[in-house]
Amino acid sequence: MFATLRHRLHESFVRWAVPVRAPEASPIILTQRRVYVLPTLAGLSYGTALIVILLGAMNYNLSLGHALVFLLAGLGVVTILHTFRNMALIAISPGRCEPVFSGGIAQFAVVLENQRADARTSLRVFIGDGDPVEIDIGAQASTIALLPLHAPRRGWMRVPRITIETTWPLGLVRAWSYVVPDLNCLIYPAPAAKAPPLPWSGDTSRGSSRDGRGADDFSGMRDHQPADSPRHVAWKAVARQQDGPLLTKLFSGAAAQQVWLEWNELPESMDTEQRLSILTRWMLDADAAGHAWGLRIPGLRLAPDNGTMQLTTGLRALALYPDGTR
């Protein structure tokens, strides 16, 4: 009951404090107007203790008791300033966010920059109710906070409201602020746990060419093995290299190495997400095996290629289907 009331009050406060739903232009500077300060539970006990001490000092006419309580009251005020100062004027800008597969944990990187000549200590940064990441920022330096967030669905995931708070130095007051940086993480579809084997098209699945070795184009050399055909020994190279080892010429069958990952080849009964999931699995498998692969999904055709760039492009296309690649 109390908890829900507290939660609702908090939510309405947040709506008031962060009126903009849209992400803010970076860098976001935590100006004094957006830093809130309230005492913590410890701060409230501190205040209560001060009142008790004051009453004691008054009752016994203890001048030094008055001095003590006034000093501690001053300390209370000063700690508000220190806590506030620890937060104020931090510049926050979005950092890099590596894409993850759906169901994984996205790591949102937020860059916190301190332009001041002294360090900022014990700041906690967190998303929603997530576990806080504790960071320090050195003098005139910046620190990257990696905020984990469960990624439930493929596509762009925008970072929700981020809370930055600190109770440094005495833990008596808490200063906090909310930011919504323009930070998005690309979530790839989750690769299917079980997927059909790579869809080699019928006309290229001849003999042992599954491993991508063909006979069409010279693709390189490797050390000769007894089983290699004598026709493929690089005699020219042997002649040039004097007593070097025998080398076998390798030929890549361009057609054989190349696999098309087709949306339409998947059974009609599958829904979009299942298809994307299987395509993702295929893509990863093909890439792991070093095959060149192409992709055909409605609205997009990706020419066969291999390498990291091809993989990123393909995964991105699947993640953002049907919106294209932007």
């Binding site: 539970l41 000063v78 100062r85």
Partner: protein
């Protein structure tokens, strides 16, 4: 939040132990021995827990220990309320809290307990050393709170930060101290144990009681004379008057009327002074004979002793006027005179015979008897000493005729006894005589060893006349001080000795500091606050004007600190600052500099936008670029750029 639940780290545990020790050590004298030992054991246990990283003791054991500690305190004091039991309980809680450090939250509780103990210490003593010591405790406790929040910095860094924060808190403390509207305590009834330890003149006087006081150099009161300090021999500080005698002990009258104002007409020149009385746990106020006015909230007993309406629990300062030439009690009541003639039946036959002989010799002439008595004391060659021999039941006789050695109470008792034996009304007056002027601040300091007893005799037409029989035998006691009067070799309080001049100098200084401390820090009560603030020009200060002034001044301090808070100490290159002025001026003409734009690139754009000043713009940009990017810019380049930009009017 989650942070408060974090377990206490080893470093934090050490800090908490240090804080607790700093708070507890000054109090070891004030708690019973068993508790001090038990607390020491708990601290050692804590240290072992931290050192060996043992498990914390189980909760039930701690609960048991708390109960045992509380019961122990109750057994000791038969109460758990009040000053000493309260402190003892706090010590119990602190020691056991240390054994229960589970989360950072517990650290805060421990720190707060430490602050409470600092307050507890002030209940016993508020001297300057105590204040300094508690500064150290507060510093360590604050550093402990810092460590509870972030335990990574090294100890000296924590202490430095704590010192910085406390230094910043100082202005608030001073403002609040001066301006926070003070309330005169107590707010509620004080437990009785609050004033047990004060020493001073008591209600009774028996042989040896004043001699015992003379071993104490505690301060009785300080006097700030408005004019010149009167000669030592005039400084009779009147205290309790003791007319009753039971054969051994003189005592005050238990019931007697009191005058709300001075009942006698004063005469002669006045001596004005302010007296700052140390708490004495009695109703007694002291004043120079004879008081011409009464301090607020006080009265004058029928035997002319000023008394306060409340027990003097706090250092009290009051203004007085004394009229030494006043003849008081010319129309004394018969009852009073009868009391001043009463002698116990029997005892001291020789003195009684002596008195009777005087009466016969002089008839009705009391004044002549008085002179004879003084003459007799003079001829007896009595010796003034701190170590008189023990006397038997006829102590007056033994003193006057056999041992002839005594301290002032012997002199006064014998003199009054002799006068009464002769039928002259007389009484013993206890109080202080003399004092010592501190050359540093000019205050006259009266200590317990200045305690004295003298006599008053009533002579018709003259009223009560002061006679100091000690002065007859040992005039140096009155004219100089105790040390001059007692035979050399007798043990005196350290401060009463006069042979070590440098020590005395040092003592004067220390005493002046202590006096300033007492007057301004400890004695800063509602009255003093009003006087001080009125003196500052805050006319007729009441709580409203004080609160307003407090709010304004605290606001000013807060503003200053906030400015420091928000200061972003980022050094801007002076050339860049000049460049920003330049671009600002151009922006007014529609050519806005992008923060990423190089100086020359911008100059070309601006020159195209404002062709009339193209060459100026290009030259300024070139100058700026040279300053920022060229090797070894020449001296004066910056000034030239500034001048150029200052003179640039597009």
């Amino acid at each position: 939040m989650a942070r408060a639940n974090r377990p206490v780290s080893r470093r934090q545990a050490w800090w908490l132990l240090a804080g607790a020790l700093a708070a507890f050590l000054p109090l070891t004298q004030q708690v019973p021995l068993w508790l001090a030992l038990a607390a020491g054991a708990a601290f050692a246990w804590r240290a072992a827990l931290t050192w060996r990283q043992w498990h914390l003791p189980p909760k039930w054991l701690l609960v048991l220990l708390v109960i045992a500690g509380t019961v122990g305190v109750f057994m000791q004091y038969r109460s758990i309320i009040g000053r000493t039991p309260g402190i003892a309980l706090l010590v119990v809680f602190l020691a056991l809290k240390l054994l229960e450090l589970r989360a950072a939250r517990d650290a805060i509780v421990t720190a707060l307990l430490c602050y409470f103990l600092v307050l507890g210490q002030f209940l016993f003593t508020q001297t300057i050393p105590t204040a300094l010591l508690s500064c150290v405790t507060v510093l360590i406790t604050t550093a402990t709170m810092l460590a509870a929040s972030d335990d990574r910095p090294a100890p000296q860094m924590q202490l430095r930060r704590a010192a910085l924060m406390l230094a910043q808190a100082m202005p608030f403390m001073l403002l609040l101290f001066v301006l926070f509207p003070r309330v005169q305590g107590p707010l509620w009834g004080l437990p009785q144990d609050r004033y047990t330890a004060t020493s001073g003149i008591s209600e009774t006087m028996s042989p040896g009681s004043i001699a015992q006081l003379s071993q104490s150099d505690a301060i009785a009161f300080r006097v700030d004379f408005k004019g010149k300090v009167p000669p030592q021999s005039q400084l009779y500080w009147r205290g309790p008057v003791m007319p009753a005698f039971d054969g051994r002990t003189w005592s005050i009258r238990q019931t007697l009327g009191a005058y709300p104002d001075v009942p006698y007409p004063v005469s002669g020149p006045a001596i004005e002074y302010d007296l700052t009385l140390e708490p004495n746990g009695k109703f007694w106020l002291f004043s120079l004979e004879m008081p011409g006015n009464l301090p607020p909230d006080s009265a004058l007993t029928s035997d002319y002793q000023p008394i306060s309406r409340q027990i003097v629990r706090n250092r009290t300062r009051y203004a007085q006027r004394a009229f030494p030439e006043t003849n008081a009690g010319i129309n004394e009541s018969r009852a009073m005179l009868r009391d001043a003639l009463a002698l116990p039946s029997g005892g001291n036959p020789r003195t009684r015979a002596l008195g009777a002989e005087w009466r016969i010799r002089h008839g009705e002439d009391d004044a002549a008897i008085l002179v004879t008595a003084q003459d007799f004391f003079n001829r007896q060659l009595l010796i003034y000493t701190l170590n008189p021999p023990l006397l038997g039941p006829d102590l007056i006789d033994e003193f006057l005729f056999d041992s002839k050695r005594g301290f002032c109470e012997h002199f006064a008792a014998a003199f009054v006894y002799a006068l009464r034996a002769a039928g002259v009304p007389a009484r013993v007056v206890a109080g202080y005589q003399g004092g010592e002027v501190n050359p540093v601040d000019g205050y006259l300091v009266v200590r317990q060893y200045d305690a004295h007893a003298w006599t008053e005799a009533w002579i018709a037409g003259r009223g009560w006349v002061r006679i100091d029989p000690t002065a007859i035998s040992a005039p140096s006691r009155i004219n100089t001080n105790l040390a001059a009067a007692v035979p050399s070799g007798e043990e005196l309080p350290f401060l009463a000795r006069t042979d070590l001049t440098w020590i005395r100098d040092l003592r004067y200084r220390l005493d002046a500091v202590t006096n300033g401390w007492n007057q301004w820090v400890l004695g800063y009560n509602p009255q003093k606050q009003r006087d001080f603030l009125a003196g500052l020009g805050l006319g007729e200060p009441d709580w409203r004007s004080m609160t307003a002034a407090l709010a304004v001044l605290c606001g000013v301090v807060l503003l200053g600190l906030t400015a420091w808070t928000l200061r972003n100490r980022r050094r801007v290159d002076p050339a860049f600052a000049a460049w920003r002025r330049f671009t600002g001026r151009l922006a007014a003409h529609g050519v806005v500099w992008h923060s990423w734009e190089g100086p020359h690139a911008f100059a070309e754009r601006a020159a195209a936008g404002i062709p009339t000043h193209a060459s100026d713009i290009r030259e300024i940009a070139a100058q700026y670029a040279r300053l920022r990017y060229a090797p070894l810019p020449e001296d004066g380049d910056l000034e030239r750029l500034r001048e150029r930009i200052a003179g640039f009017r597009p």
